[in-house]
């Protein structure tokens, strides 16, 4: 336990340091992009968040399969916590995207395959979290594991369908045309590492919190049992 705690402390410190370094790199080290100006800097937050959102949902997918296969509650906890953090990162992506798009593309939103798939992804995992909150205690894990699998398998099909839909209608904006200089790549890598550390730090803590919550529930149930027994004794 103490060993674990020490590790977490170091991890927390490294994450904090990397986040500061990323901020420095984004705002001081990286040059201002010529054609887009200062708004381009949102890119360093947007790209790592997008990757981590997908990564988090992938973890949920794998953990859901493992839960159904092994019937071990640990996998259920991991799937849930990862989905929750994934939704946060996905929300960051969906907020930073339009902020960047308005001055650059002149619209807040386009129905481009990547944008639309991300939005649908967000809806799927918000539904996942809602399902967990309304499902009964004894069914929650099974339901959310099945939905976690359905939701993730659906992503590539959605992407294909939307791409096909958009190739029939001409697409105005393509992802091309952004040339990145070396300091920009460095900044992106630093931001990427920082966000990955942040993700894992959040995930570890969230899982710890969830485990603690389950334990508290267990203790509370056993206390209630004891009180119940005492009452019965006194009554009898």
């Amino acid at each position: 336990m103490t060993h674990n705690r020490a590790f977490l402390k170091v991890f927390q410190f490294v994450t904090f340091f990397m986040m500061l370094l990323a901020l420095y790199a984004i705002f001081v080290y990286a040059p201002v992009e010529k054609s887009m100006g200062i708004i381009q800097k949102i890119f360093y937050l947007h790209v790592p968040s997008a990757f981590l959102a997908f990564f988090a949902f992938f973890i949920t997918f794998i953990a859901s399969i493992l839960y159904l296969y092994k019937r071990d509650n640990r996998w259920d906890t991991i799937a849930f916590c990862s989905a929750e953090i994934g939704v946060i990162f996905c929300t960051i992506v969906l907020i930073t995207g339009p902020i960047w798009a308005k001055p650059i593309w002149n619209v807040w939103w386009t129905w481009d395959p990547r944008l639309t798939t991300t939005l649908i992804l967000w809806f799927i995992y918000v539904a996942y979290l809602m399902l967990r909150s309304v499902a009964g205690e004894n069914r929650r894990s099974n339901f959310s594991a099945v939905f976690g699998i359905f939701g993730f398998v659906n992503v590539p099909i959605t992407f294909l369908a939307i791409r096909l839909w958009r190739t029939i209608h001409p697409l105005v904006i393509t992802g091309k045309g952004i040339n990145i200089s070396t300091p920009m790549i460095h900044t992106l890598i630093i931001a990427f590492v920082a966000f990955c550390l942040l993700f894992f730090w959040l995930l570890i803590n969230r899982i710890g919190l969830e485990k603690m919550r389950l334990k508290v529930e267990e203790i509370r149930a056993s206390i209630e049992d004891k009180i119940h027994l005492e009452h019965e004794k006194q009554g009898g």
């Binding site: 649908i120 809806f123 809602m130 359905f150 398998v153």
Partner: protein, 225 residues
């Protein structure tokens, strides 16, 4: 009893109870009729607009009233307490799933035939020449919808906010299917070449197969007590 007979027994149970009350089919048909009417008012039915929107209107009517049928599929079993009886039947979860899914599929097809005939009259579109390709698209779409819908209906029937939960689960997953259905219907209704719908057909078939397989693998976990 063979597996097919067992599945058919479940399907027949749903049909027989529906034939006695006629509650669900009637409300599904009435609802889709209303959707067609409401869309007639919300979109300008000037001919040019209509051409763009019409396949979408048709599928919104199908999907919304299909959702009503889905909600009741397991909801009724839950309310009347017959779900436990169903689970006690000497049949695998996959058999129960197939039985319920085929039931939903049949009710939806009846509703769709009704809606299509009303649609033909109200929107003045002759669908007879396109009956075959349109029928294929509707078959694949209804199958896909019943496939994912039955799984989510079994889930949401046990939760608190039943109907809301069902739509929240079904819609995001059915997005690729809805896109493919609306596009393919659009191409068919406006006389596009049959080759043009092939890519959409592929997506629909892939969607149906993938989710049928997933339902096969996971349905047991959903109904276990």
């Amino acid at each position: 009893m063979t597996f097919i007979q067992k599945v058919w027994a479940i399907v027949w149970k749903d049909i027989a109870s529906e034939l006695r009350t006629k509650e669900m089919l009637l409300s599904m048909c009435l609802f889709s009729f209303l959707v067609l009417i409401v869309f007639n008012f919300t979109f300008d039915t000037g001919l040019k607009n209509l051409r763009e929107n019409i396949s979408g209107i048709l599928w919104v009517a199908f999907i919304f009233s299909g959702l009503m049928g889905l909600g009741r599929s397991f909801g009724v079993e839950r309310d009347k307490g017959t779900l436990h009886g169903l689970l006690l039947c000497p049949i695998s979860p996959w058999g129960i799933y197939l039985g319920k899914m085929i039931g939903v599929f049949i009710f939806m097809v009846v509703m769709e035939i009704f809606t299509l005939s009303v649609f033909t009259v109200l929107y003045n579109i002759n669908i007879i020449p396109f009956l075959l390709p349109l029928g294929l698209i509707i078959f694949l779409g209804t199958l896909g919808f019943a496939t994912i819908g039955t799984v989510f209906s079994a889930m949401s029937a046990t939760t608190k906010a039943r109907d809301v939960m069902l739509s929240i689960l079904v819609f995001p997953i059915s997005v690729p299917m809805i896109i493919a259905l609306v596009k393919a219907t659009y191409i068919i209704l406006w006389g596009g070449a049959i080759q043009e719908i092939y890519p959409w057909l592929k997506i629909l078939i892939a969607f149906d197969l993938v989710f049928l397989l997933l339902a096969y693998l996971t349905f047991g976990f959903i109904i276990e007590e």
